[in-house]
């Protein structure tokens, strides 16, 4: 099956590695994508704060172009895009007034919106369409022993839990277990990373991200796996600031239960996209997967070392 593909702005910028790893992984699995013609910004959350109706118009332009492209479904890997596109669908369904405005605007571009194109997330697609068994078939280098804190973030499970459990999502857990990883118990799976606040009000924003990193470390994770470019950015790119602010805080030593160690040095835990991990297991190269773009990059040798250590 061929899908329309909506990359969104982040996947062309700070979140390039997500696209770089998603596309080859899907290629290996035989999923065909066609990038949406002349797509525009989804309307994202910041836009909604200024003008909700216009945000809807922007989102529905993408939805309408996808309908025109003729593929049955639209793939949106970025959580914010995924939510905004879905929210727009709900909103248009609920409010005939807004729908009328949107349709009128769309006519300017000879577009119409019928609401018949589902918006899908890659996690959903991989688990429910491709299937875990199929993915297992393509694993060349299982990431045995790699301990993962699976971090889903907010917007793919809230407010609409479309394909996973709102409280305890498991699609990524299952996917990564299929490629050999081990999940640590991570109670903050769906806690907020601070969103765009990290850039605007660093104090509260960074704290949100720091809590997520610290808990993953305390739980003994080697790597944090994410599904959203903004989450990845927040967890990955502000480590210096976090170390400055909270590096002196202590946590129970993962190796010795009675001792406590400062959290600072541990904050360099790699934060990657789940697709990068799948790509590694499929035998794709680090470079192909954009792994060098991480601030605390996870390289294949590191993982291989762990494998030999575990053995």
């Amino acid at each position: 099956m061929k899908y329309s593909y909506f990359p969104g702005c982040s996947l062309k910028g700070t979140g390039r590695a997500y696209e770089e790893s998603l596309l080859p992984v899907l290629k290996v699995l035989g999923v065909e994508l066609e990038e949406l013609d002349d797509w525009n910004c989804c309307g994202a959350t910041a836009y909604m704060a200024v003008d909700e109706v216009k945000a809807c118009v922007m989102a529905s332009r993408n939805l309408a172009i996808a309908e025109k492209a003729g593929h049955k479904e639209l793939l949106a890997p970025c959580s914010a895009c995924y939510l905004v596109l879905n929210k727009t669908k709900h909103y248009l369904h609920e409010s005939p007034v807004v729908e009328a405005v949107v349709q009128k605007a769309l006519r300017q571009a000879n577009l119409t919106y019928s609401g018949n194109t589902p918006v899908r997330h890659p996690l959903d697609l991989l688990v429910n369409n491709v299937g875990i068994e199929e993915i297992k078939k393509h694993v060349k280098h299982p990431l045995k022993g790699l301990k993962i804190a699976p971090y889903y973030g907010c917007q793919i499970v809230r407010p609409y839990a479309t394909f996973d459990d709102q409280y305890n999502p498991t699609t990524m857990d299952r996917l990564l277990e299929a490629i050999g990883c081990t999940m640590v118990t991570y109670p903050l799976k769906t806690r907020c990373c601070g969103g765009s606040l990290t850039g605007t009000l660093p104090e509260p924003g960074l704290l949100c991200s720091y809590i997520l990193l610290k808990e993953a470390i305390t739980r003994g994770a080697d790597v944090i796996a994410t599904v959203c470019p903004l989450c990845q950015f927040n967890l990955d790119c502000y480590r210096d600031k976090m170390k400055g602010k909270w590096g002196h805080e202590t946590i129970p030593d993962p190796r010795n239960k009675d001792a406590r160690v400062p959290v600072g040095p541990h904050l360099d835990i790699p934060v990657v996209f789940f697709t990068q991990l799948i790509g590694l297991a499929f035998g794709l190269s680090e470079k192909e997967l954009g792994l060098q773009r991480g601030f605390a990059p996870m390289r294949k040798p590191a993982c291989a070392q762990r494998q030999s250590a575990a053995a």
């Binding site: 700070t14 590695a17 002349d38 836009y47 200024v50 909700e52 922007m58 571009a109 769906t190 850039g199």
Partner: protein, 212 residues
Amino acid sequence: MELKRTIKYESDRVKGFGREVMSVPGCEQLEHCIQCGTCSGLCPLSIFMDYTPRQVMELTRSDFKTEVLRSTTIWLCASCYACTVECPKQIRITDIMYELKQRAIHEGFYPKRFPIPVLAQEFYKMSHKRGRVTENFLATIMFLKTDILAALGMWRLGLNLLRRGRFPLKLEGIKRKSELERMMAVVDKLSIDALNNGHQTGGNGGRQHGAH
């Protein structure tokens, strides 16, 4: 010791404000709020807010427009929707926060150089004008408009991003920009018509974009 007057008089209320917010699609359930505080309990950012989300709900319902639109709460909402899915009365708190943010922007209710609304508006402008957003440019503009010193503090991050190819040097944009402009013009015209028909009531005038 500084003393602060905390009493509220009836004249402090902008009567009708609460009703107006509750009449917006998606915000209706606010009338059912029982002030249980589930929203504040769940909100990861409530610890930084001047009013907790629960208090914002009550202040909105009770017409304390100025207090609500000046509060830091509405800007600190990172739209994680934790409150919305747990609210026992199914109030869509996140959507109400959006509604309040829109009103605060349109009516100029926020401190100058406060980065969040600036970012929101710059995001709006850039996506409106170019059809897409290039995050690093956006962030740069925001810092220039709010706090140049902070921008200087960010240079290391910028450099690190640049080194890893995550800092595009070219602004993204769509091909058919005029198409998007025409679409937006339709919305503008319709909302002005609605204004003239008196659909937008109360407050310090209706919605004007880009108030500063």
